[in-house]
């Protein structure tokens, strides 16, 4: 009994498993009490957010290593002690906060959008939060894999049960694509376990990397799982389908958090566990990243479905993150981590914005709109800020991340070429083109469609949903220092280990 108490009172366990309280509470509620279920879900996720703020309070930004580590033997299998290791450092703290922030926002966005099977929806959503938070905190490969693979299940149901017309196709495609990568990672994890006799990442790092060609194979196996999740070109084809079909809240979480699990995986595991292979493959990863940046931007442009447009823009933005990571410079990696957060904020907000108009008009076709500025001024202003943030306008968050990534890539000795940064900069310009075109088609021009003339502007709930994200856009854009301060020691620490 005291063991359980000790377990749940550890802040990292608390923040991971608190949503379970909400799951159980919702399970016990009758399915007709939909409003109550919504409040329970929202309350649970808000408390989880508060706990994560508590974790931030306990976090010491000066310490480059892992903090608040909870390390216990979990079980023993034929000579293997599988440990339950949770911990947080500068690489993961921001992603933890992003996850716990976006979850209540996403739940708030479903208030009127989800009317069917609310009970199941909220259960799956809270389960998803457990999986996502666990992925960012787990430091034992076995535990990590459990969280990683577990996130598939609730997301599969969220897309498949509450999605659009082709939801079943999109759901199964999402599941199979992601699983295809992660099973290769599973084999690599088992191999590492056999080699080191442990799955605990700190223990493995203490023993030094695997030498010889095996390291390169292991890198590729892990990279397969993460690259599909990111998704890197050419493995991205599941993403537009999943985004288009997923319900708004699903898209917000998918873009905001799930994709970050891939980039975080590269950062946490590929770079530190397989440093030689990571440096060897860095130019190739960067090449794919740059192709993704340009490809995503070009393909975004002709899209008529706004969600598809945003989905392809994600491919482009995540390309920046990958480029920054594999530049192996402090600026590049810090920019990349910040860009992960930025993308979560901006793209999350974009999907919320799309969801709001879809709820009113039940279409996402660009040509169905025009001149919305006149009927929905609040909506138009918030959308403008979000679009500008997403395309990287100075003064807003996107600029800080992308600028640092480009500088990092320029100064990278591992990449050894200016061309990567050059082509990536092209992506910034293209982003401005497709974002502004989209904005123009929807909000400017004449208000010539009959259906659009009596659209209601945002209500207080919708404004509240968007407001935290808008505030963050300005905050990171104008004063990013505290965010960099959180990650800087950890990034330096990582680079020292990798580049030595």
């Amino acid at each position: 009994m005291s063991g359980i108490l000790e377990f749940v009172t550890h802040p990292l366990n608390a923040v991971t498993f608190f949503p379970l309280v909400g799951v159980v509470a919702i399970l016990l509620l009758a399915r007709e009490k939909e409003t109550l279920i919504r409040w329970v879900a929202l309350g649970t996720s808000l408390i989880t957010f508060v706990i994560s703020l508590g974790v931030l309070g306990l976090f010491n930004p000066q310490d480059p290593g892992l903090q608040l580590v909870y390390d216990r033997p979990w079980f023993t299998v034929a000579g293997w002690t599988i440990r339950y290791v949770m911990g947080v450092d500068g690489l993961s703290i921001l992603l933890l906060l992003l996850t716990t922030l976006l979850t209540p926002i996403a739940i708030l966005s479903t208030w009127t959008a989800i009317q069917e099977r609310v009970k199941e929806f909220m259960i799956f959503f809270l389960l998803l939060e457990i999986g996502m938070v666990g992925v960012f905190l787990a430091l034992d490969l076995f535990l990590f894999y459990i969280f990683w693979e577990f996130t598939l299940v609730p997301m599969y149901f969220l897309i498949g049960m509450w999605g659009g017309p082709r939801r079943m196709y999109a759901a199964i495609k999402f599941f199979l694509y992601t699983m295809a990568g992660s099973i290769l990672m599973l084999l690599a994890i088992v191999w590492l376990g056999l080699h080191y006799g442990t799955f605990s990442v700190p223990d493995i790092l203490a023993q030094g990397p695997v030498m010889g060609p095996v390291q390169y194979w292991l890198f590729l196996a892990f990279a397969a799982a993460f690259a599909i999740k990111v998704p890197m070109w050419p493995l991205h084809s599941w993403l537009p389908d999943a985004h288009v079909e997923a319900p708004t809240a699903g898209s917000v979480i998918l873009a905001g958090v799930l994709l970050k699990m891939g980039t975080y995986g590269f950062l946490r595991f590929n770079m530190s566990l397989f440093p030689d292979a990571a440096k060897y493959y860095a130019p190739w990863v960067a090449l794919l990243a740059v192709i993704g940046i340009v490809y995503g931007a070009i393909v975004s442009f002709p899209q008529r479905d706004v969600k598809k447009l945003v989905a392809y823009s994600s491919v482009s933005h995540l390309g920046f993150v990958m480029l920054g990571l594999f530049a192996f410079t402090p600026q590049g990696i810090e920019g990349a981590i910040l860009q992960m957060i930025n993308h979560g904020i901006s793209t999350g907000a974009l999907f919320l914005i799309v969801g709001m108009i879809y709820e009113r008009r039940h279409t996402r076709d660009l040509d169905a709109f025009g001149g919305l500025w006149k009927v929905m001024p609040v909506y138009a202003v918030l959308s403008l800020i979000t679009a500008l943030s997403s395309m990287g306008l100075p003064g807003l968050n996107g600029f800080v991340g992308e600028f640092n990534i480009l500088l990092g890539a320029l100064g990278s000795r591992v990449l050894g070429s200016y061309w990567f940064a050059g082509f990536a900069a092209l992506g910034v310009i293209l982003a401005a083109v497709y974002m502004l075109t989209m904005y123009q088609k929807v909000f400017l021009g004449p208000l010539d469609k009959e259906e659009n003339k009596c659209l209601q502007d945002l209500n207080w709930r919708e404004v509240v949903t968007l407001l935290p994200l808008i505030v963050l856009m300005f905050w990171i854009g104008l004063y990013p220092k505290p965010f960099f301060a959180l990650m800087h020691p950890a990034v330096e620490h990582l680079l020292q280990a990798v580049l030595k």
């Binding site: 979990w74 034929a78 199941e120 079943m168 599941f175 295809a180 088992v190 056999l194």
Partner: protein
């Protein structure tokens, strides 16, 4: 000359003895006294409960050769005997309502089931070639009859005949294989055989040929490719509770004998490693690929059971390695537990949805909309499907994890790759069942049969929570289930 039977002999086989006596008495009682067939069902269920208690009582004892070296009570056999007793109980819980509602409830069904379980238990106990053959036939013959229990339905009869003919064919292989093994080692006693082989006095060519034939015979029972042809037809035609019972237990029994022979006695025939490799790979690939095309849930589960035989066999490929042998055994036993739980559960759902025997409610489309009207049942089925795929945190994930660990440790990277890639293929058809239940509208009709429902929910709860809470103790238990002769 009298052969003394000591109390020690009886004690070694106490669960089996009890079941045989109980079943024989029940057969008489059923003919002469019992009016309500339901009573027979309850009495046989009670018999399994007692057998389970007796089997649990055998745990932790030192290995004991009994009946002049015919059988052995070691940790491995006790583990499986307990599982078989539990499976027998579940088999009756699943069958009773189904038989009654379809008008094919006859008392001998339960007696046959008990005899079959005794045969399976003996498969785990074998210490002599004679016993393997006897136990194999003892568990198979009742299954042939149970398969045809829905007579005069043509599909049930046909399934029984097919099962019988191929089963007898397999017995032929077994008998001839055993003869060759006997010729190679000049003894039928397995402990003696180990000594003879270690002393280098065995005829290796003959032994390899014999082992290959025995493998063929057992391959039919565990349904590996290419000895699987009967499986879809038999599982399809047999009454659903019988199919579920067979899918779970016959495979366990086959693996029990296979592991005992190959890990304990035959490591010397390492020449057969590529053969096992190929059988495992073929089963995983063909089982999963063929399952994709199935529209009937019974056939889908049949092909899936072939694939799972392949997964378990892939760990058995490491049998010739003296260090990995025990780990392979533990991993396979663990996987068997996960597989049996999910199999019983899934077949329980099939039973609840099958409207009349062999008709309606068996197509995948009949599962559409299940989650709306019966959320608990649909959630349970989803858990079984996810466990079959191997998604954490279900027990199936832990099972696959341990299996692949052994396969990788033995250096069969290719086989491990085939294993994970075919798991991906299997995700497609298992998820289709989930998709129909959760994402398609429909009006499924489900029986209200509390015992079957309770069994299904219990299996789902165990599949979901055993992995996270008790995977280690279960694995420790499986690890202690070491094969020993004295």
């Amino acid at each position: 000359m009298t052969v003394p039977v000591t109390w020690q002999d009886v004690a070694a086989l106490l669960p089996e003895f009890f079941l045989v006596v109980w079943a024989s008495a029940l057969l008489l009682l059923d003919v002469f006294w019992i009016r309500e067939k339901r009573t027979t069902a309850w009495l046989s269920a009670l018999g399994f409960v007692v057998a389970l208690v007796l089997a649990v009582g055998q745990m932790g004892r030192a290995p004991l050769l009994a009946f002049r070296g015919m059988v052995i009570a070691d940790a491995f056999s006790v583990f499986l005997v307990a599982l078989f007793a539990l499976s027998g109980l579940v088999g009756i819980l699943l069958a009773q309502d189904y038989l009654a509602r379809n008008g094919i409830e006859r008392g001998e069904f339960y007696v046959l089931l008990m005899f079959s379980v005794v045969g399976m238990m003996l498969m785990a106990r074998v210490a002599d070639l004679v016993m393997i053959f006897l136990a194999l036939e003892l568990f198979s013959l009742p299954l042939y009859v149970m398969t045809g229990f829905a007579r005069p339905r043509a599909d049930s009869e046909e399934a029984a005949l097919k099962y019988f003919l191929l089963g007898a064919f397999a017995s032929g292989f077994m008998a001839f294989g055993i003869a060759l093994v006997y010729g190679a080692t000049s003894t039928t006693s397995l402990p003696h055989m180990v000594d003879v082989i270690q002393a280098g006095e065995a005829d290796l060519a003959l032994l390899t040929a014999g082992a290959a034939l025995v493998l063929t015979g057992l391959g039919f029972k565990i349904a590996t490719v290419p000895f699987h042809m009967w499986t879809p037809d038999v599982y399809h035609g047999a009454p659903s509770p019988v199919s579920g019972f067979m899918a779970a237990t016959a495979k366990m029994a086959g693996f029990a004998a296979l592991l005992r022979l190959f890990v304990l006695v035959f490591p010397v025939v390492a020449d057969l490693t590529p053969v096992l490799w190929a059988l495992a790979a073929l089963s995983m690939v063909l089982g999963n690929v063929a399952a994709i095309a199935q529209r009937n849930i019974k056939r889908l589960l049949a092909y899936s059971s072939i694939a799972h035989a392949g997964y378990m066999l892939s760990a058995a490929v490491a049998f010739a390695d003296p260090h990995l042998g025990p780990q392979a055994v533990a991993a396979i036993l663990f996987y068997l537990v996960a597989y049996v739980l999910a199999t019983f559960g899934a077949w329980g759902v099939v039973i609840l949805l099958e409207r009349r025997i062999g008709q309606e409610g068996l197509l995948l489309e009949d599962y559409a909309g299940l989650s709306r009207q019966y959320p608990g049942l649909a959630a349970a089925m989803a858990v079984f499907m996810l466990s079959f795929i191997g998604v954490p945190p279900t027990l199936g994930f832990f099972g696959k994890f341990y299996l692949f660990r052994v396969v990788l440790d033995a250096g069969f990277v290719g086989l491990a790759l085939i294993g994970v890639l075919t798991s991906l293929v299997s995700a497609y058809y298992y998820l289709r069942v989930v998709m129909l239940m959760y994402m398609k509208p429909g009006e499924p009709i489900v029986r209200r049969e509390p015992r079957v429902q309770a069994t299904v929910l219990a299996a789902a709860a165990l599949t979901l929570f055993l992995g996270l809470t008790a995977a280690s103790s279960l694995y420790a238990w499986a690890t202690e289930a070491i094969l020993r002769f004295g």
